[in-house]
C-alpha cells in the first residue's frame, strides 16, 4: 500500500520501470498522459491546454483569462484524486511535486547518461544525432524552467527525491526489485498518511474549482484542508472576490468549517 512516483528524463527508461513495478506489486499504473486526459475530462479543459500549461512557463498572453497556474491546479486536483485509492505507480513529470508531504509516497527518479538517452531517442524518433541532442536539451531546459518557475525548486537537485537510479548501469529487474523492497519495508500507508492524502485531495479539488470559476479573478489563493476544516489564505483582487470564494467553498460537500484569512490586493 503505497504511492510511487517516477520522474523520468526524456528517454531514460522510467516507463519500463513503472511497468515492472506495477506487475510486481500489483499496483495501478498512471502515466502523465493519462493524468492529463483525466484532468481534462473532469474540469472541461482540453488536453492541449493542459499539456502546454505543463510544459511552458506562463507568458504574458493567456487565452480565455485562464492562467497556466489554473490548469496546474486542475492537474494537481486530479493527481490527488488518482492516488487517493492508493497502490499507484505514476510515471511522468512533476509527480514528486504534486504529492509533497505524503508519508507513503516514494519519490524515484531515473537518470541515464546523455549518450544513453541520445541512443534511445534516435531509435524512437529517427531524427539525426545532432537534431536529437538539440531536442533533448530543449526539453530538459524547458522542464528545468517550468519546475523552477512553478515550484521554485531545482529539479536536478537529488534531494528532491528519495532514490535516484541510473538505468544505464542498473538492470531493470534489479532496479525494480530495489524499489519494491524499499516500498514494502518503509513506505506503507498509515491511517495518518492516508488522512494527509484525503485532505490533499479535498483541498486541491476546492482549489481547482476556484481556479476554473470564471467569476473569480484569483491567482494566489492557497487552500488547506484538515478533516473538513478548510483554511483559505493568500490574496484576492477585491472583497467581492473574497465573498465569491467563500460562497463557492461553502457549497462544496464535506466542508465543515471555513477559516478565511484572505487579504485583498489593491
Amino acid at each position: 500500500m503505497a504511492i510511487i512516483t517516477i520522474s523520468r528524463g526524456t528517454f531514460s527508461g522510467g516507463r519500463d520501470l513503472a511497468q515492472c513495478l506495477g506487475e510486481k506489486l500489483g499496483y495501478r499504473l498512471l502515466s502523465r498522459e493519462e493524468l492529463l486526459q483525466a484532468a481534462g475530462e473532469r474540469f472541461g479543459a482540453s488536453e492541449g491546454e493542459l499539456e502546454s500549461a505543463l510544459t511552458h512557463r506562463p507568458g504574458f498572453l493567456e487565452r480565455h483569462g485562464f492562467t497556466r497556474v489554473h490548469y496546474i491546479h486542475c492537474v494537481q486536483a486530479e493527481m490527488a484524486r488518482a492516488v487517493q485509492g492508493d497502490d499507484v505507480v505514476y510515471h511522468g513529470q512533476a509527480g514528486y511535486l504534486l504529492l509533497r508531504g505524503v508519508g507513503h509516497h516514494l519519490r524515484v527518479k531515473v537518470v541515464a547518461d546523455m549518450e544513453y538517452r541520445i541512443k534511445a531517442a534516435v531509435e524512437r524518433t529517427n531524427l539525426t544525432r545532432d537534431r536529437t541532442i538539440e531536442y533533448i536539451k530543449e526539453l530538459d531546459e524547458a522542464r528545468d524552467k517550468w519546475v523552477e518557475h512553478v515550484y521554485g525548486v531545482d529539479r536536478n537537485d537529488p534531494t528532491c527525491y528519495d532514490l535516484v537510479i541510473n538505468l544505464e548501469q542498473i538492470s531493470l529487474p534489479t532496479a525494480c526489485a530495489a524499489v519494491a523492497e524499499v516500498v514494502q519495508r518503509d513506505f506503507q500507508t498509515t491511517p495518518e498518511s492516508q488522512r494527509v492524502v484525503d485532505d490533499l485531495a479535498f483541498a486541491s479539488a476546492i482549489r481547482a474549482k476556484i481556479a476554473i470559476d470564471r467569476s473569480i479573478a484569483d491567482e494566489v489563493l492557497e487552500i488547506e484542508a484538515e478533516d473538513g476544516v478548510v483554511t483559505i489564505t493568500g490574496t484576492v483582487r477585491s472583497l467581492n472576490d473574497a465573498d465569491r470564494v467563500r460562497a463557492l467553498v461553502n457549497t462544496m460537500p464535506g466542508v465543515r468549517r471555513i477559516e478565511s484569512r484572505m487579504g485583498t490586493r489593491w
Binding site: P158, T159, V164, V182, R185
Partner: protein, 266 residues
Amino acid sequence: MAIITISRGTYSGARALAECLGQKLGYRILSREELVQATAKRFDASEEELELALTHKPGFLERYRFSRLDYIHCVRAEMARAVQGDNVVYHGQAGYRLLRGLAHHLCLNVIADMEYRIKATMERTHLARERTIEYIKELDETRDKWVQWVYGVDRNDPAFYDFVINLEHIPLETACNMIAQAVERDFQATPESQRKVDDLVFATGIRAQIAIDRTIVDDVVEVKADDGVITLAGTVRSLDDADRVRTLVKGMPGVKRIESKMAVRW
C-alpha cells in the same frame, strides 16, 4: 565479489551505510582517511600534503615538493591497488571517478536534505546554527570545485552514480539491504572486469612513479595499460623528459612493450 564506492555529503550517513554493507556482505571497509594514510606510506608523502591536494584546487603557488596533481596520481594508484583484491566498500571522496566503467563497481551517492545535515553537524561540532550552515556550504563548494577541476564534471549530477539514496527518507537498514541485493544480482566481478582492474592498478602505479620522479617535469602524461602493453600519451616539456619517462617505464617489472605517443609542448 564487487567494489562499492559511497560518495558522501558532509554528515549524511555514508559511513554507517558502509559499515552495514561491510558486515552484510563480508567486505572490507576502506575510508578516505585510511586511503590517504596508505598512500602517504607507499609514496613517502605527508598526510597533510595529500589532504590538501585532495581538498583544494591548485593555486599559483605550490608550496610543496610535488604539484597537487602529482599527489592525486599517488592517491589514485593506491585506490586502484586497494580494490584489486575485490570485496571492498570505500566511503569518501572521489573514489567513483577512477573506477567508473568497471563492470563490478557499484557507485553510490548518499544525500540528505540541508536541514538534516545542519542538525547532524551541529550535534557533532556544537557550532552555532549559522556557523554550521556556512561550514557546510564552504565544504560543499570546495568539493564541487575540486571535482570540477580534477575530472571536469559536476559531482552533483545524479547521472554519475548508479544509485543516489536519500538517507533521510530511506532508513539505513533498507538502503543496506537494497544495495546488497543489487550487488549480488548485477555487480559480480568477471575475469574480464578483473583484468581491467589489474590493468588500472598497473597503469596508475606507473603514473604515480612518473609523478613523484623529480627529474621529470610532467603535467599531462597519460598512461594506459593493457596486459603489460603500456601506452604513453599526452605531452611533456622536452624530448629529454620524454626519454626519461620511457626509461622509467621500461624499468618497471611487468612491462612487455611501450607504445609511446607523447608530444612535446614548446
